[in-house]
């Protein structure tokens, strides 16, 4: 089964969760995702996700000059983003418990 389909469903939530931990920027988000096992991701996948979050008002962004020169966008979660993240976590937990029961016959803690 194509992994990207599974990824598409959870990437927005994961990126939102990373942003909720503190103001951050694209490269840091990518590095954090890779650290936690999302190795097939790259900036091209990330950019549309962040753009969608911004368009939905779930994250806000401010621009500042990066240490390397070009402008860098720093993202922070908004109130509606926090609420969306809570809802996402609840839905994800519910779905993943059900899926694990079917796939593995048990639910992990």
């Amino acid at each position: 089964m194509d992994e990207s389909q599974l990824l598409r469903g959870i990437l927005e939530g994961c990126v939102l969760s990373i942003i909720s931990q503190g103001e951050t920027y694209g490269y840091q988000i990518l590095a954090k995702l890779e650290e936690n096992g999302f190795e097939t991701l790259f900036e091209g996948t990330l950019y549309p996700v962040i753009t969608r979050l911004e368009n939905k008002g779930l994250v806000s962004c401010r621009k500042e000059k990066s240490p390397y020169g070009p402008m860098r966008k720093y993202y922070s979660i908004t109130e509606s983003g926090e609420k969306m993240l809570d809802d996402f976590k609840k839905s994800y937990y519910k779905i993943s418990c059900a899926a694990e029961k079917i796939l593995f016959g048990e639910v992990s803690e």
Binding site: Y27, A31, E34, F42, E43, Y47, P48, Y68, P70, M71
Partner: protein, 347 residues
Amino acid sequence: MKDSYVFYKDKLQGEYKDVFDQVEMYVNCENIDELTREDRLGSLLDMLLSAQESGRPVKKVVGNSIEDFCKMFCSDLGTQNKIRRVLDTLKVIAIIELIFAFFDLLSADWSGTDFWSIASNVNASGYLFSFAVCILIGYITHFAVRSFMFKRKKVNMNLLKSIEVCMIVVSFIAAFVILSSDKLNFFTCPVWAVILVCAVYLVFYFIFNRKRNRENKQQKVNFYDVVSEQTHVNFDTIMEKRYNAFNKRNIKKGLGELSMREFLDNEEKDCDRSDKMDWLFYVTPVAITGLSLFCADFDSVFDMLFYNAIMLVVQYAIMHFFFKITKNTNAEKREWIAEKRNELDNE
């Protein structure tokens, strides 16, 4: 200095630079408006610079396929962006048409006719055809560049950039040929109509984009920035050569060598002298126009005033261009002098 990504591209090296050049070329051929393009390429540049600094392989940033990356990078733009891009393209075409309309106006017969009937039979169908042909040339070239650039492993970016420049030249030539052709002269109109339509469009375009341009003023690259970036002077190399040449000349004349500090003081005085020449900008067009008042023969005072008003506008536009380039270069030179003085103080 503006914060456009254009000024920091040179910091990329090797594979990172190759990848960025490819993506930039692809993005320039896509239907993306200027500010979004600047925004996205700035983000990508920052990410590549971060990856370069931390030793992260470029494939971790863009994946294994540059083509797929480019498609994804330019996706999710929305209809608003496409509309803005169309408006940007129309702006360029309106400027080209305005230039040709002014040439039509200036080359028209001004003698013994009512003012509003001057150049009243310009090739209106020609303007419309040239408009359509310019857009077609643009789309065909961009389509060809986008298709070609991923066919080979290593793309010659200079070749692709040359193709872009040729496209603009071909557009001008095509417009000129069409406008001069009698075969495409189906209906005419006064040149004022063309000038009015183009001018009205440009005014509405700038008003429409006023808010966005103000918000992104620091980031938006304009023509001067592109020229400054292309003609960016590497002051370290040039000044070192100048310093060495200066001292060589002094030695030949039997004079002592200048220290670096003295050389910097001299260069700063040069900058001050150059800054004091600002009055040339204001006076030169007036002087040239004043000369033409004596040399040219006009049928009426109104003709004289109108013709000279146009000439003044054109001259000020040209002077403004060179004036801005000189100012930018002077400012960069002063920055370099200050940095060099700091280095000497710290030694």
